[in-house]
Amino acid sequence: MPESHDPVPVTDWPAFGLAGPDKRERILAELRRLTRHHRDACPPYRAIVDKLGFPTDTLDTLEDVPFLPVRLFKRHRLLSVPDGDVVKTMTSSGTSGQSRSQIVLDKTTSALQVKVLSRIMAEVIGPKRLPMLVIDGRATVADRYRFSARTAGILGFSMFGRDVAYALNDDMTLNREGTRAFLDKHAGQDILVFGFTFIVWRHLIRALEEAGESLPLEGGILIHGGGWKQLLAQAVAPDAFRARVAGVTGMTRVHNYYGMVEQTGSIFMECGEGRLHASAWSEIVIRDPGTFAPLPPGESGLVQLLSVLPHSYPGHSLLSEDVGHILGRDDCPCGRAGTTLRIEGRLEHAEIRGCSDTYPP
């Protein structure tokens, strides 16, 4: 890995403690270094950013960092390391007819992803592994040869859990006896509850509401992500989601996360105030969907994601098809520094991307 100009290794950065110019300078220095590295090591990347007319040498601001459309990874296997260094290829879940992204990882990038995710997770669940309840069926992870983004997500987050139990049967109905037995066994303890948003909603929250039942999950810390997928028509706002979760489970610690397989590790985590936070390792630029000009906080546009982790593939600056806006900088009532954002949905008529909030162990 090319040397870093920052004397502090990125993994030692305070997860949500970098503010203002300090954060901007540190992340910009890393992104400059990565942009240079990818230009040198990945000829297709160089050809694309040159063709798109990005400045070549001076990257004075975060907004200057060249960005690739995220769907480019669906058509091209881009790598910035020798093929022999690739230890893992991650794919996004393409539903039938859609193409899948291919993200190649070398040891360095893979290790960075794991370390950074673990730093971000520690912020919400603490340093210890917790008993873990997965809101999904065991069958989702049982067939490892049909490895989906859901499988990868569950397995990735399982590193932060222990005594892992699955709340759903293989037909996606709620396993009431099994779940109650698990909760009895760990009564009075914090429990990591993990699932994909649309599955938690449909198969836990709605299922309990429809049956007029509840579960004693007061000790639960819910981490959910992945969006609404085919349930977009049923999507509820974050506040309503939290209220309904609390209504049938008593769970008040609820954290949505936002991320994509193309930038695994540096996910955006929701705080107790309901805001998604960029960590030290990521940043957001909102762009006008027509002109791609950067937009000020409060204005909705396309979400560009910056991450200092991608070394083995040129994914450090990606324009997504998600629409969102910046809520503020260094001013969240929760006390964490950094940019906060809200995701509103997807650009209309964009190819709907499959679930990508995955993470490899």
């Binding site: 230890v87 210890k128 592994r129 932060f160």
Partner: protein, 79 residues
């Protein structure tokens, strides 16, 4: 059973391999069974066998049969 025998047995059962292959060359992803799924299953089996709870960092760094022995020392298990 000695700790070494217990440790080996976890690998044999988790990855369906013969004890003869358990040496310094037995590393993460060296057999198809030692993938991310197999890894978490193996960690859970080790935790049950030795009645320990490993930290996330150690699970991440548990990259080979040999490294694993070093990791277990931290939890008072000499293999």
């Amino acid at each position: 059973m000695s700790n070494k025998e217990k440790y080996d047995q976890v690998f044999v059962e988790s990855f369906s391999v013969s004890p003869d292959v358990l040496n310094a060359d037995f590393v993460y992803q060296c057999v198809p069974q030692w993938d991310s799924v197999g890894h978490m299953a193996m960690i859970a089996a080790l935790e049950d066998t030795f009645d320990i709870m490993m930290e996330t960092e150690d699970i991440i760094e548990f990259s080979s049969y040999t490294v694993g022995k070093e990791k277990l020392k931290k939890y008072g298990v000499e293999v």
